[in-house]
């Protein structure tokens, strides 16, 4: 099977851009990715594009050039970008195309996602009575996790502080003001035990990747980044998942993150011990802590010590969310996962500037999780 490699990455800054349409942000990201790859738009043979707010993201061809290529729209909530890159890679692996593109763009208003529960197949009373808030799930999951595995409030604050500090060194990040753990612990509680500065916010941005056949990569770049595995999994019966009015009693069932992670490691022939840098879904500080274990990067409860030791800092032995993650960048959900891969590609190229991790990183890992219980993992390597 032919392998797909990333030869170009492009990122429109994440933040708020009044008056700038999402499609224009997407077009900017695509042009950056094409320039990075040394490719012109007419060379792109097909692609996948994801968005929540834009009903016809494929209309971006009206900005880029009407070449007639198949540009397919995809959506899997917060895991949307994982689907876009997976299918763009698959088109190369199966021989359908030699050169493809994965694009994500979004433009969420403040307070986005205040939908009726019917969008998730749940009756109206769930929303009327104030239960239909995804933030409840994150508060309840980390509350239980702290109880079971001895994670402290201070560790939550240290994780958030790290991500804002990393964002401060990233000119394309949104929340670039460093916050100390003490300042974070002084912010108001939104959903016990999570506080205002422990949550990411929905915002705006776009990202794009150009992919080609590994055996043709030399025509474009000396530093291709291999897509070793992609996986998308949905929740299984018995897992504790977002937007669930109930779930069965009995033995705990693993989250879709665990399932996607195991599948991706197996496909890649790479283990968690090989990962040099990881971008994990930090919807909130607790999520990053839980996702470290769910992605196999540590055991449950080890996070307390690892975070205290600085292991997940840029200079640590397992850097996590080196570009600031969702906490520092916000979450335009169509683009969020491609932003993660953009960061991994820069790190594996050794081109991440002031936030470059030391040594010669070879393996990068990205992870997405969101409603209604879906997770996507992508493993990349030099």
């Amino acid at each position: 099977m032919t392998e797909a490699v990333v030869i170009g990455v492009g990122l429109h800054p994440f933040g708020r851009f009044p008056g700038k349409p999402a499609l224009d942000m997407g077009a900017d990201a695509v042009r950056l990715a094409l320039a990075d790859a040394g490719v012109d738009w007419p060379q792109v043979q097909g692609g996948y594009i994801g968005s929540y707010e834009v009903a016809n993201p494929d209309a971006i061809v009206g900005r880029l050039g009407l070449t007639g290529i198949p540009l397919r729209g995809v959506f899997n909530g917060c895991a949307t970008a994982g689907t876009a890159v997976a299918l763009a890679a698959r088109a190369i692996e199966t021989g359908e195309h030699d050169l493809t593109i994965a694009i994500g763009l979004d433009k969420h208003p403040r307070g986005a996602f205040a939908a009726d529960p019917s969008v998730a197949g749940i009756p109206s009373w769930y929303g009327q009575t104030g239960l239909f808030l995804t933030t409840h799930f994150f508060g309840m999951k980390i509350n239980r996790y702290m109880h079971d595995h001895g994670i402290s409030h201070e560790t939550l604050a240290r994780v958030a502080s790290k991500n804002f500090r990393n964002a401060a060194g990233n000119e394309k990040a949104w929340r670039r003001t460093p916050l100390s753990p003490e300042e974070i612990l002084a912010s108001p509680v939104l959903n016990h035990p999570l506080r205002q500065f422990m949550y990411c916010g929905p915002n705006e941005g776009a990202a794009a990747l150009v992919l080609c056949r590994a055996d043709q990569a030399h025509k474009y770049t000396a530093t291709p980044v291999r897509i070793r595995a992609t996986a998308l999994r949905s929740r299984r019966l018995g897992a504790f998942e977002v937007q669930s009015p109930s779930f069965p009693v009995g033995e705990p069932v693993a989250s879709p993150t665990v399932d996607a992670s195991r599948e991706a490691y197996e496909r890649a022939g790479i283990g968690p011990e090989d990962v040099d840098v990881a971008q994990l879904q930090d919807t909130d500080a607790g999520s990053e802590i839980i996702h470290m274990a769910e992605n196999g990067l540590c055991k449950d409860g080890e996070q307390e010590r690892l975070v205290a030791e600085g292991a997940t800092e840029i200079g640590g032995r397992l850097p996590v969310n080196t570009d600031g993650g969702l906490l520092g960048n916000g979450e335009p959900i169509g683009a969020s996962g491609l932003r993660q891969i953009h960061e991994i590609v820069l790190q594996l190229r050794g081109a991440a500037g002031s936030r470059q991790i030391p040594g010669t990183p070879r393996v990068g890992y990205t992870h997405l999780y969101g409603a209604p219980g879906a997770s996507a993992v992508t493993i990349l390597s030099t």
Binding site: D116, Q128, G130, H136, G139, N191, H192, P245, S246, F247
Partner: protein, 151 residues
């Protein structure tokens, strides 16, 4: 005259009486026995589309919880405009774990593993004065408090 209505039909026994006390109304798959709440004809274990009503136990233990410290976006939330923080949690019943509002808003007074009892709370009042009730769980150590809970 103040009238009281349930937030939805078929969610819990209404009105609760001595012979038909307050219970959540779930369903049981007639093929594999999986219990669901709210009641659903579709079984997510065996994919059967046949089910029968199953009333759930009114007692359980608190599995996890959180608080809601800001007024949720409205719609879909239709609680009072003057917002009072509330808490929510999952209560482990013998049949399943159910998500519900909790009568105790203070997280310092909640504890994973504590006993909980099903109750009703008037979570909002309509413009015409109709009180709307939904189900909730109250800490069972202090049953007197759970009887008189107000939003």
């Amino acid at each position: 005259m103040t009238t009281t209505q349930p937030v939805a039909e078929g969610l819990f026994t209404w009105p609760p009486t001595g012979s038909a006390p307050l219970r959540l109304i779930g369903s049981e798959c007639t093929a594999c026995g999986l219990v669901s709440f709210p009641a659903s004809p579709d079984c997510v274990r065996c994919a059967s589309t046949e089910s029968k009503e199953r009333l759930l136990s009114d007692r359980g233990t608190l599995w996890t919880y959180t608080t809601q410290n800001f007024r949720p976006p409205s719609p879909p939330y239709d609680g009072p405009r003057a917002f009072e923080p509330y808490s929510v949690g999952y209560v482990e019943l013998p049949e399943l774990l159910v998500e519900a509002r909790l009568t105790e808003p203070d997280p310092e007074k909640l504890r994973i593993g504590q006993h909980m009892l099903l109750t009703l709370v008037p979570y909002t009042v309509r413009d015409d004065g109709t009180e709307v009730v939904t189900f909730a769980f109250a800490p069972a150590e202090d049953p007197a408090e759970s009887e008189q809970e107000t939003p």
